[in-house]
Symmetry: C2
Subunit: 435 residues, 2 copies
């Protein structure tokens, strides 16, 4: 005997995993996708194929929307033959697509304006990749009125890891904002991994040894560790994480930041490099291919002819670049999160165990969140941090190596110094964003 | 009967023009270059070939050094068989190469430390291109003690236009600093011309019509007007102004800015794009090829299918992009000039009639130089300017068009807003740099 019926739209890599996991858990999942082949594949995996959007929604008390973008959401929800018109009274609708918070809010407003405020609507973007989707262990950042969250909670729990379901205070839009500020870090660190390894190659450093040093240092990021093997192997076709995916997420960030008129110098810089790479034809390949923006050959081919002492000195430049840039990235993400009234303690917990994590975020980021002046006694000053980064940036310039994030971060630190923050703890660079 | 004898080193494109002009004016010019072919060519043009550096300097009361970079200067002046050792007592030495001010100062210090303070040394970088070099109508920015300037003045006058010899107060290094802060604008506007025309192409606008509109608008820059034809014709080989030339000048700026720990967000951004293009193989070609970083095809091929109204709207985005970005560029250059204690009135005069000129510099830049609060009554606010730029940047993002300078400028304006400057005149964006 089946559990309750669930409608589902969007059977791509992530959506397919989520929907088939629900099938395995015993639900009668009625799935739809614009690609008939995806529906067939879902049927083969035990799902119930829906013949149309309306068919997928009719008489379904629960519905999950996992299409790729806000325009697609708008079309499937409110277009001709749309989901909303077909959903029964008091249905629960989970929007799991990554969309701008303002868009999620506009869905709620539209539901009200067309007289469907009976629908319990939950803004619930997910994170974690296709494998975790299929295992029902995603991270989910869910925001909605309490009554809606109560109705949808069991379904959120089915799809997420027990420790990774974040009920985000703030109602509709809060889940999307939480995901977005997390992606600020992800978007910067993806490029940062390539920038650091490309710079190391320019310095004549061995790629694997450099990576090992990064992993065990304060420069560590989740993204660097995650992307490293694909970067070394140049295993880009088909990409496990196509450039266009992070570009879409970063586009949501910079668009929202512009709407808030909030500066995001590092994330914007990363976006510009991604757009340049898109123009060069890298859109569909794995984002670890960004290393090509810094080094023209496979980095694995670099074999060092330096002395141990020279190697240690060069390696330190790479570590300093990443560490100080990641500090500024943490400041940018946290200040934007604070501006958006995101719950910072929850943000910290989420990031520390997700793709946006970095050792800098977990240490200096915590200082920033807990309030400056407590943790920063005796810590490195803005002057000292900028001086370390300056050496790396100058060396890269001498080698004619682009260092997009490093330069952007250094300019932020110089702004901090111009504001008189030079002698304060390095975490106070956040004040540049918060005046 | 010849006028006085002059030694000359560095017979490249600029140096050859300068040296042969002096020959035409009746001087006995003894020229040397590391490339024997350049010396032969100089001989064919009426010059006196020197067989060595020492030969070019021996018994010459006046000497002009026009090699390409500071390391080359160091080598020809102080290396084995160097110029200084060969120059007679009380000789006058003009250093016309573009070098960091700190390097020019180190030359003066070295002259003193080796007991050759008898040499009248003048820091005198030039600007204007090979044609003006050959015509003796360069811009020259000369800094030195008064006594030295007095001795070298006739020679500076021979090589420069009557209105374009700038005797820069501040002694050795002041000339180089003046040239450097001018190049902040040149370095940004070269990329800005490509960014604007590339964005226009993405918008489906006709390249020539767009260029005409820019020329007659507040978005005008000297660089855009100068580079336009080569950009339209894709006349890049051999470049009239190779990417590596502006990259060298920009490198002097960002290196000096780092030494001063002064933020140069736009100039640094331009440098990063130049470095990326260098990696793509654009180093030796004309810098108007930077348009390729924004549009994959020749922009002249774009034929618009838009209505007049749509065209006007799209064109306005291009004009807004350039105008507001140029305002921030003016603020960056002027604040850096002020920080370096460059004479701002002279800077204004020089820029207005040189390659760094822009209509924004000549209007808003003047406001900034004369002191805010006088000219800015009733003028556009920071809020309004950033809002115009924001629309352009968002549109570019929607089109997946990189907009490196536009994004960097917008982040500076957002920083200004975060500092509480939103309601002030747009020229007060300079306060971000000056706190």
């Amino acid at each position: 005997m089946s559990k309750t019926s669930i409608g589902f739209v969007g059977l791509g890599a992530m959506g397919f995993g989520m929907a088939t996991h629900l099938v395995k858990e015993g639900y009668a999942v009625h799935g739809f996708d614009v690609f008939p082949a995806s529906v067939e594949r879902f049927k083969a995996a035990g799902g119930i194929p829906a013949s149309s959007l309306q068919d997928s929604a009719k008489e379904k008390e629960f519905y999950v929307c996992m299409v790729a973008s806000a325009p697609q959401v708008q079309s499937v929800l409110f277009g001709d033959d749309g989901i909303i018109a077909a959903l029964p009274k008091n249905a629960t609708l989970l929007l799991c697509s990554t969309v701008p918070a303002s868009y999620a809010q506009s869905v709620a407003a539209e539901l009200t304006s067309i007289g469907r405020s009976d629908i319990a609507f939950i803004d619930a973007p997910v994170s974690g990749g296709a494998l975790r989707a299929a295992a029902g262990t995603l991270s989910i950042m869910a925001g909605a009125p309490d009554a809606a969250l109560e109705k949808g909670r069991f379904l959120l729990q089915e799809m997420s890891d027990a420790n990774k379901l974040y009920l985000v205070p703030g109602g509709i839009g809060a889940g999307s904002n939480m995901k977005m500020v997390h992606q600020v870090l992800a978007g910067i660190h993806i490029l940062g991994a390539s920038e650091a390894q490309g710079f190391a190659a320019r310095l004549g450093l061995d790629a694997v040894k450099t990576a090992e040093a990064i992993k065990s240092s304060p420069a560590w990021t989740w993204m660097h560790e995650n992307r490293l093997q694909r970067m070394l192997d140049e295993d880009w076709h088909p990409g496990a994480s196509a450039l266009t995916i992070i570009l879409k997420d970063v586009g949501i960030i910079t668009t929202s930041a512009r709407q808030s008129q909030f500066p995001t110098p590092l994330c914007s810089t990363a976006e510009q490099v991604y757009l340049s790479a898109l123009l060069q034809g890298y859109g569909s390949v794995d984002d670890s291919s960004m290393v090509r923006q810094y080094f023209a050959e496979p980095i694995i081919k670099v074999s060092s002819t330096k002395s141990d002492e020279e190697m240690a000195e060069a390696l330190q430049l790479v570590l300093d670049l990443m560490e100080v840039t990641n500090l500024v990235a943490a400041a940018e993400a946290i200040s934007f999160a604070r501006y958006l009234k995101v719950d910072l303690k929850q943000f910290y917990t989420l990031v520390s165990d997700a793709a946006g994590a970095s050792r800098q975020f977990m240490t200096k980021g915590l200082e920033i969140i807990e309030g400056l002046g407590q943790g920063d006694k005796g810590s490195e000053t803005v002057d000292a941090a900028s001086s370390r980064l300056e050496k790396a940036v100058q060396k890269a310039r001498d080698l004619h190596c682009p260092l997009n994030l490093g330069n952007a971060a250094l300019n932020v630190l110089f702004m901090a110094k111009r504001s008189g923050l030079g002698a304060e703890g390095s975490a106070s660079v956040v004040k540049v964003f918060e005046h």
